[in-house]
Each structure stands twice: as structure tokens, then as C-alpha cells.
């Protein structure tokens, strides 16, 4: 029992790293743009399919394939932003973005169904099934690689945000768009790039997700619900919060899964609701200007 618990916790933490990556992209988009990108879930699935295609047809290793999928997803993000989100203005902006991105999700899901059908797919590589022994547990390599990559990328994001000029512009835009524009920041460019980055990281999330789960176009719903729960719990716009929340939620679910697999997912959402009841802004959220 004890080792089962430890195992669950480790699995939770490792899994949380990957969810963190996808969630961080989502919360970044919200922080900079006030947009809740509901399509993030299906974009992860799209990325997984891309990885699958590269792997099956070009025989590229999954990680090598990232060199292609990351830029591709980044570009897709920019295109989505320019085509749809860019136009959303005004008071109702966030509500509209919600519905617009929901629509984009539906479209992408339909396209994926048309292209790939409803059958489940999963990504394969030697490290998906092979395990390595760590502290008496047999952990699949893919989880470790994925977690490592997630940590790397989140660190990279932090570095970008806090050590580069672009990152400064991004943070400025997050805090006050008008002020940012007044000091010469090209807010539209920053916004588009932020959206692109937020989507670009789904490439990594998608690959690892696809390697650790069987997926089909319908998987998007479950994913986005979890991601939304994570970023809300962590506090909208808080990158650190998304990280903590992701690891927390997946770990809790993993532990509860020992007793009851069916209800473990409910716990995921129940945790969100419980936290919100006491802290409506989430764990690390900016205690909101409730003017919205």
C-alpha cells in the first residue's frame, strides 16, 4: 500500500509536468490577451496527430519530430490569432473569445475526424514502453523524458519572460496594455507572438500526451476541461500557479485513482470547485478587479 501511494505520487508529479506545460501556454494566452483559448485541448490533440504522422510516415523519432511540430504549432497559433482572435474587441471580449475558440475547436475536431477517423491512435517509440528502475519503481522512460522536457521548457519560458527584452514587453502587456502601447511596445505583435507561443508549447504536450495515452479527436474535451481547471485553480494568468496547480491536480487524481479509477476524475473538478469556494481568484490569482 505504501509503495502504491508513492508510485501514485510520482506518477502524478511526472504527469503534472506535462499538463503544466500545456496549462502554462493557456494561462500565458489569458494573461497577455484576456482570451480563454478553449481550442487549446484540441490543438494538443492536433499536435499529437502531427507527431504521429511524422513518426509513421517519415519515421522520425518523436523528440526529433518536435523540431518540426513546435514551429508548425507556433505558426498555427499565429494564424488562428490573426484570423479570429485579433478581431475580438470591446467589453465582451473574453466571453466572445470563449465562444470563438470553442468554435475553432469544433472545426478542428471535425477536420481531425475527417482526416483520421474516430479510431484511437497512440505514439510509439522504444522509450514509451521501456522502463528504467528508479528508487525501486519501474518508470517508463517517456514519462521521465517528458517531465524533463517540460521542466526545461518552463524554465525556458521563465528565462524568456524575465531575462529577455521580448519577455519584458510581454509582461508589460500582461499588466497594462494601454501603458505598454504608450511606451512603444507593439502590442499586436506581442499578442500574436504570445498566442503563438501558447499554442507552440502544445506541440510538446501533444507528443508526450500521445505517447502516454491513446487518443482520438474526441480527446480534446477532456483535455481542455482539465487544463481549464488547472489554470483557474492556479489563478488565471499566473504561470507559477499553473505549474503548481497542474502538479497538484494530477497528483491528487493519481492518488485517488488507487481507490477508485472512475471517481478520480471527479476529484479533479471537485478540487477546483472547493478551492474556488474559498479563494474565488484561485491559488495565485490576482484578487480580481471585479469590474468585469
Amino acid at each position: 500500500m505504501g509503495s502504491q501511494l508513492y508510485r501514485a505520487i510520482i506518477d502524478g508529479i511526472l504527469g503534472g509536468g506535462v499538463y503544466a506545460l500545456m496549462a502554462v501556454g493557456l494561462t500565458l494566452i489569458f494573461g497577455v490577451l484576456d482570451i480563454i483559448n478553449i481550442a487549446q485541448g484540441i490543438l494538443v490533440v492536433l499536435a499529437a496527430y502531427l507527431s504521429s504522422v511524422l513518426s509513421a510516415h517519415l519515421h522520425l523519432d518523436l523528440f526529433v519530430g518536435l523540431l518540426i511540430t513546435i514551429p508548425v504549432m507556433f505558426l498555427i497559433g499565429i494564424v488562428i490569432y490573426r484570423l479570429f482572435m485579433h478581431r475580438l474587441r470591446g467589453r465582451e471580449r473574453t466571453s466572445m473569445s470563449l465562444l470563438a475558440s470553442y468554435a475553432v475547436m469544433i472545426i478542428i475536431e471535425g477536420i481531425l475526424y475527417l482526416g483520421f477517423g474516430p479510431n484511437f491512435v497512440s505514439l510509439n517509440a522504444w522509450y514509451v514502453t521501456a522502463t528504467v528502475r528508479v528508487f525501486g519503481f519501474y518508470l517508463p522512460y517517456i514519462y521521465l523524458f517528458g517531465f524533463g522536457l517540460a521542466v526545461l521548457l518552463v524554465a525556458g519560458l521563465y528565462f524568456m519572460l524575465y531575462r529577455t527584452k521580448f519577455g519584458r514587453s510581454l509582461r508589460a502587456t500582461m499588466q497594462d496594455r494601454v501603458a505598454a502601447r504608450l511606451i512603444g511596445i507593439d502590442v499586436n505583435r506581442v499578442a500574436a507572438l504570445a498566442f503563438g507561443i501558447g499554442v507552440g508549447v502544445t506541440a510538446v504536450g501533444g507528443m508526450v500526451f500521445g505517447a502516454t495515452n491513446a487518443f482520438n479527436p474526441n480527446s480534446g474535451y477532456d483535455l481542455i476541461s482539465r487544463l481549464l481547471a488547472i489554470i483557474i485553480l492556479g489563478g488565471l494568468g499566473s504561470i507559477g500557479g499553473a505549474l503548481v496547480a497542474a502538479v497538484f491536480m494530477t497528483t491528487v487524481e493519481s492518488v485517488v485513482n488507487i481507490w477508485s479509477p472512475t471517481w478520480s476524475v471527479v476529484v479533479f473538478y471537485a478540487a477546483l470547485i472547493i478551492v474556488l469556494t474559498f479563494r474565488p481568484a484561485g491559488l495565485f490569482g490576482r484578487p480580481a478587479v471585479r469590474a468585469q
Binding site: 470563449l98 465562444l99 472545426i107
Partner: protein, 345 residues
């Protein structure tokens, strides 16, 4: 809203008259079935609009009430062995259960900001869908079946049609009453500036929760009726994420926060969607089209058809364009104030 009263009430009366005799004129089962679906959605959209349209809190979890209503009706009919048309007596029960769920749901969800609110509704929705899949009482993934109605197939749809019509018309009428009432004014003020409204003495939580419960009640009704109509409820259809999207789209398309908006949206979208499904067959393609349509509406008609038409009519009538909102105010913008002081407009 800007039509002269005679024209407005005249067209409402005409529409009602047409609706009243519709199934007697168009007797094709397919047509009446689409009509029933349309009316069910019209009622649902109108209910959703009463809450989300007026308060500005977009809910993507109203399917919870729809499904709860459907399942309540199903479980009750099963357990109490109700059969035949007595089953319709369960509708109020379904509505009551929905109301009961709405209270704690609303108390928790309505305390958070709008962005968070949407996600909470999604989260609660998923919890309910999961419960429907996993609890024994809901029959798991097999669902529940409605009692058999041995009615004449030729007119089978008619009672459902009229019930759905009553619900849709009733909800729209309620929506109209609310809009012109003090309650509705407070709701809409909350939508514009919740904190300012609170500062002026509006009991914000009470108002929001009331609207939430009202919309839940109707959703429950509609869900139960739907269940009896299609004779079965499965977890993924009783709690269907696309329901909320469709209902929201209908309200947006017609005009969010307008009385006739959701009905107009339903009248356009539901038959359209059914037509698409019939002729395209490929449900994936129709999904793409639905999404694309939604996107077009959001981007180009963000306020919906009715406000759009109103603006066209106003422009066509040649009224003065809106005063520019400038800081500092331009002299041109100040004319109206001075003119008003002089008694002219």
C-alpha cells in the same frame, strides 16, 4: 424593439397563429419532428438567455439542468412505473429537481469573476456527465428508456409539439416581462457594471441567482420533454457539451440579451442543422460547418441579427450618428447637451 407597437404585436399574433396550426397543416412526421426539436431548442435558448444574456455571465454548463431534467423524468417514470401520457405529469418534478441543483451550483459559481464562472460551469457539467456514466441509478452508459406511448404514428408528434410550443412561448413571454421589469433592469445593470450596481444598492447575488434558477427550471422542463420525445436518455446526450454551444449560438445569432433573439436563432439554426445532417450525412462535416458558422457570427455579427437589423433600420431612417466619445470632448459632441438645455433635441 424599435418597431411600432401595432406592427410588433401584430407580427407576434401572426406568428402564434401560424405556430398553432402548423402541425395540422404540415402533417409530415419529419417536418413536425424538426419543429418539435426547434421548439425545444427555442425554449432552451430563451431560458439560457434569461440568465446568460441578461446578466452577461456566459454559462456553458446549462446542459446540467437539461440532463438532470431528462434523468429525473426517466428515473421517476421507471421507479414509479408511469406509463402513457401520465408521464407528462413528471415535467414539474424535473423542473423542481433542476431548481434544487441550481441553488448550490449558483451559490458557488456566481461568486467568481466571469471568466472563471464559465470554467466552473464546464467543470460542474463534466462532473454531472461523469456521474451519469457511472452511477447505477442513471443506468450507466446504457441510459434510461422512456415509457412506451402507443399513440397513432401520424399524430404522434403533435402533443410534443404543443407542449414544446407552450414552453417556448411561455419562456419568451417571461423573458419579455423580465426585461421590462425592475428585476431585469438590475440584471442588465449587473451585466454592464456589477460593482457599480452593487454600490447603488442592487442585491447582486440575489438577482443573479434568481435568474440562474429560472433558467435552470426551464432547462429542466425542456430536458424532460426531450427525453419523452426521443424515448431515451444516454449520458453523452443528456449531458452534451454541444447543447450549450448550440443554445449559446442561437442566442448570440438572434441577439444576446434580446427577447426574440434566442427564438430567432433557434428558428434559423435548428432546422438548418437538421437539414445539413440529412443532406450531408457526414456528421463530422456538419460539425465543421456549425463551428464555422458560429465563428462567422461571432466575428461579423457579434451582437446578433436583431441589433444588426435595428442599426440598419436606424441608419436608413437617417437619424444622427452617435455622438463621438472623445476626451477632451469636442465642441460638436457638446451640442446635444446645450441643445437639450434649450429644449430642442
Amino acid at each position: 424593439m424599435s418597431l411600432p407597437p401595432a406592427l410588433r404585436w401584430g407580427s407576434v399574433a401572426a406568428l402564434l397563429a401560424v405556430a398553432a396550426v402548423f402541425p395540422l397543416v404540415f402533417t409530415s412526421e419529419l417536418v413536425t419532428q424538426i419543429a418539435v426539436d426547434t421548439l425545444i431548442f427555442a425554449g432552451a435558448a430563451a431560458a439560457w438567455n434569461i440568465f446568460s444574456g441578461y446578466s452577461g455571465y456566459i454559462s456553458l454548463g446549462h446542459a446540467v439542468f437539461f440532463g438532470a431534467g431528462a434523468y429525473t423524468a426517466g428515473v421517476a417514470a421507471q421507479d414509479w412505473q408511469i406509463s402513457g401520457s401520465a408521464e407528462f405529469l413528471l415535467l414539474p418534478l424535473a423542473a423542481a429537481v433542476a431548481a434544487v441543483i441550481a441553488v448550490p451550483f449558483g451559490l458557488i459559481a456566481l461568486r467568481v469573476r466571469r471568466h472563471t464562472f464559465v470554467v466552473v460551469t464546464i467543470a460542474v457539467f463534466f462532473i454531472f456527465q461523469l456521474m451519469a456514466f457511472n452511477l447505477a441509478v442513471t443506468g450507466g452508459s446504457v441510459g434510461i428508456n422512456a415509457p412506451f406511448l402507443g399513440w397513432d404514428p401520424a399524430t404522434y408528434n403533435n402533443p410534443f409539439y404543443y407542449l414544446a410550443l407552450i414552453i417556448a412561448v411561455g419562456t419568451t413571454a417571461l423573458s419579455w416581462l423580465i426585461r421590462r421589469s425592475r428585476f431585469g433592469l438590475q440584471l442588465r445593470a449587473i451585466r454592464d457594471d456589477e460593482d457599480r450596481a452593487r454600490g447603488l444598492g442592487v442585491r447582486v447575488m440575489r438577482v443573479k441567482l434568481t435568474a440562474f434558477i429560472i433558467s435552470a427550471v426551464v432547462m429542466g422542463l425542456v430536458g424532460a420533454l426531450w427525453f419523452f420525445f426521443i424515448v431515451q436518455v444516454l449520458p453523452q446526450y443528456g449531458f452534451d457539451p454541444l447543447l450549450d454551444l448550440s443554445v449559446a449560438l442561437m442566442a448570440f445569432l438572434g441577439g444576446l440579451g434580446r427577447v426574440a433573439g434566442p427564438v430567432l436563432g433557434a428558428l434559423i439554426l435548428e432546422p438548418g442543422q437538421q437539414y445539413l445532417t440529412l443532406h450531408i450525412g457526414n456528421s463530422y462535416l456538419s460539425e465543421i460547418i456549425l463551428g464555422a458558422l458560429f465563428l462567422l457570427v461571432i466575428l461579423f455579427l457579434p451582437r446578433g441579427i436583431i441589433p444588426f437589423l435595428e442599426e440598419r433600420v436606424t441608419a436608413w431612417r437617417g437619424r444622427a450618428p452617435r455622438a463621438p466619445d472623445t476626451v477632451p470632448a469636442s465642441p460638436a459632441g457638446e451640442q446635444p447637451a446645450q441643445a437639450a438645455r434649450r429644449g430642442t433635441s
